[in-house]
């Protein structure tokens, strides 16, 4: 498959502050790519680069193999669902959706047909004549989706398009969007900070933090083989501990030695160790070399989430069986449940919010 959009060494700075730092991204035709990351990490900025609303300070944007730096948005075969909707306040729902088609001078009959299709799709039939100010946030968001999608662009940029919807509607729309994407064969570049949404919908997930791409991969790869502790932490809950790689396939955690499956880090190297909460089983204290006290038990619907204090770390454990609060238990996990990763550089340390807004 060909790449439809390629970002090469994209750098964006605002007021001397680096917002995107050497972004390299290759997006295949008809792919569903999700940009995932915490607030302020540069997702919207990346979309705006692709949409043509800002130009990178350095680096190149390619569309279908051709450089498009400096090409204005109306000349790009890309449409955007804006994070803050940006609906036209002087037009009603119908005219908002029809806007792009009218600009392209599509015949009235065709406009009628396609807008009706869209209204049905986003569940807003009967709202044609409403002014957009008289819509709820979720309805406005769906108009924004319809307004972009009706143009059948080659690439659709969606900036948290389902953020204002309730859980049930969001799930429905997720399925709808995915279906449309496959049916119309449009490349979707989708922004979200909901990791579950990213994992369920995407072909490829791009995890970003602080203007830097942390990992690009399929949802399964991202979940199972996080490249660093940030990704592991951001994608699902994780136990992330300091470890010491004694030698290949042998790691020391909390003063105890465990067998693992990774190697190639060098002997006696400090590493980050990630263990997923659902990979840990609770056993009797004498069956494990790692014991702790159950601090809390919370029912989460499908499973119980337990916090277990063991030595210098508070473990998160997911299990369908609840242990008793205050009980002493053992923690057990197999060698392939232990994920070893390089320590993040000091500057890329996660977890601490850097206050950058005054």
């Amino acid at each position: 498959m060909n790449s439809i959009i390629t970002l090469k060494d994209i750098v964006v700075e605002f007021d001397g502050e680096r917002i995107l730092d050497k972004i390299n991204l290759d997006i295949k035709d008809k792919e569903f790519v999700t940009l995932l990351g915490p607030s302020g990490c540069g997702k919207t900025t990346t979309l705006r680069i692709i949409g043509g609303f800002i130009n990178p300070d350095s680096g190149t944007v390619y569309f279908d193999g051709k450089e498009i730096n400096g090409l204005p948005p109306h000349k790009r075969n890309v449409n955007t669902v804006f994070q803050r909707y940006a609906l036209f306040p002087h037009l009603n729902v119908y005219e908002n959706i029809a806007f792009g088609l009218r600009v392209k001078k599509v015949p009235e009959k065709e406009i009628n047909k396609r807008v009706a299709e869209m209204l049905k799709l986003v569940n807003l039939v009967g709202f044609e004549k409403r002014t957009v100010q008289r819509l709820s946030g979720g309805q406005q968001q769906r108009v924004a989706i319809a307004r972009a999608l009706v143009n059948h662009p080659k690439v659709l940029l969606l900036d948290e398009p389902l953020g204002a919807l309730d859980l049930k509607l969001r799930k429905e729309m997720q399925i709808e969007l995915k279906r449309i994407q496959q049916q119309l064969e449009i490349t979707f570049i989708y922004v979200t900070h909901d990791q579950e949404e990213a994992l369920t919908m995407s072909d490829t997930v791009v995890v970003m933090n602080g203007g830097v791409i942390q990992q690009i991969g399929s949802p399964v790869d991202i979940y199972n083989e996080p490249e660093n502790a940030f990704v592991a932490d951001f994608i699902g809950e994780s136990n992330i501990l300091n470890g010491l790689m004694l030698k290949d396939k042998l790691v020391e955690i909390s003063g105890r030695t465990f067998e693992c499956v990774d190697g190639g880090f060098g002997d006696n190297t400090p590493v980050d160790v990630v263990i997923r909460p659902e990979d840990i089983t609770i056993v009797a204290p004498d069956e494990s070399q790692l014991c702790g006290v159950v601090e809390s038990v919370i029912f989460k619907g499908v499973h119980y989430e337990m916090l277990i204090d063991a030595y210098d770390y508070r473990w998160i454990v997911h299990s369908t069986k609840a242990a008793e609060k205050g009980a002493s238990v053992g923690l057990k996990f197999g060698p392939d449940d232990i994920h070893i990763m390089h320590k993040l550089k000091e500057t890329e340390q996660f977890g601490e919010e850097t206050p950058d807004e005054e």
């Binding site: 109306h74 449409n79 804006f82 307004r147």
Partner: protein, 269 residues
């Protein structure tokens, strides 16, 4: 209850200073010197229809010119940095702080046959052209004096247009012109309407500008009314009748304008 109390002074103000004077104007318009009811004065207004037409015509031209100058200016202004915007606005308002008479008088000296402009033409062997005491000079005076009243409402409506809406238009295929006509223009209509009102209404009833720049030959309604009260034609009842007819005409024109503009936005009158 509390709201009523707070609004009471304003209500009193409105009755004493707006409603009562209006009724008095109407009273004078429909009575003769002895206070008897008559339609004569209102009927007499018809003989000045030429002056009415000229006033409306010149005020309309001035308003259109103001709009044509101000609209792009206001639009360009909103695209500038915040600091430049406030400096530019200062410059727009600066002439307003200079006395109205003085500003108009300055134009007299510039437009005269021996004025600066004709001197420059003379230097190139052209002219002198008659510029002062023409309709053109009156329109120029109106445009010059009332331009800020067009720029300011346009600007204040345009700065409020969400930049992301402009981006959305561009995203959906609009070039600069398309964006202007499909999005910016409709969204700035309320500003256009109030700008037109703020320029047209004072322009149609001005008398200083026409007196100073139009000479005697370009009498406007304002001059006519002024003559009935302060001039030697002294006739309060006729003056009131003319004022009343003028008011009705302005109201009619503004109502038509508002129909033509957006229907759910109320316009400053």
């Amino acid at each position: 209850m509390k709201n009523k109390l707070i609004s009471a002074p304003y209500l009193v103000w409105m009755v004493v200073f707006i409603l009562v004077p209006l009724l008095m104007v109407a009273y004078f318009a429909f009575t003769d010197k002895d206070g008897n009811f008559t339609l004569n004065y209102v009927a007499d207004v018809a003989q000045y229809s030429q002056i009415f037409v000229r006033s409306i015509w010149l005020a309309a031209i001035a308003t259109v010119i103001c709009l044509v100058i101000s609209y792009p200016l206001a639009y360009i202004l909103t695209g500038m940095s915040k600091n430049t915007q406030s400096t530019m606005l200062m410059l727009v308002m600066l002439p307003m702080w200079m006395n109205f008479l003085l500003r108009t008088y300055a134009w007299m000296t510039m437009l005269g046959n021996n004025g600066i402009i004709n001197s420059i033409f003379g230097f190139f062997g052209l002219g002198p052209y008659k510029m002062l005491n023409t309709e053109g000079a009156v329109v120029l005076g109106m445009v010059y004096n009332y331009l800020p009243y067009m720029i300011l409402p346009l600007y204040s409506v345009m700065v409020k247009i969400d930049k992301s809406v402009i981006e959305a238009a561009s995203d959906l295929g609009c070039n600069t012109w398309n964006t202007l006509f499909r999005v910016v223009l409709p969204l700035s209509l309320p500003g256009v309407m109030s700008g037109i009102t703020m320029v047209f209404v004072p322009a149609i009833s001005t008398f200083i500008i026409s007196r100073m720049l139009g000479g005697g030959g370009n009498l406007l309604i304002g001059d006519l009314i002024e003559m009935q009260f302060l001039g030697n034609a002294y006739n309060v009842n006729l003056g009131a009748a003319i004022s009343l007819v003028l008011m009705v005409i302005i109201l009619l024109i503004m109502t038509i304008m508002n129909q033509f503009g957006s229907d759910d936005e109320t316009v400053l009158m």
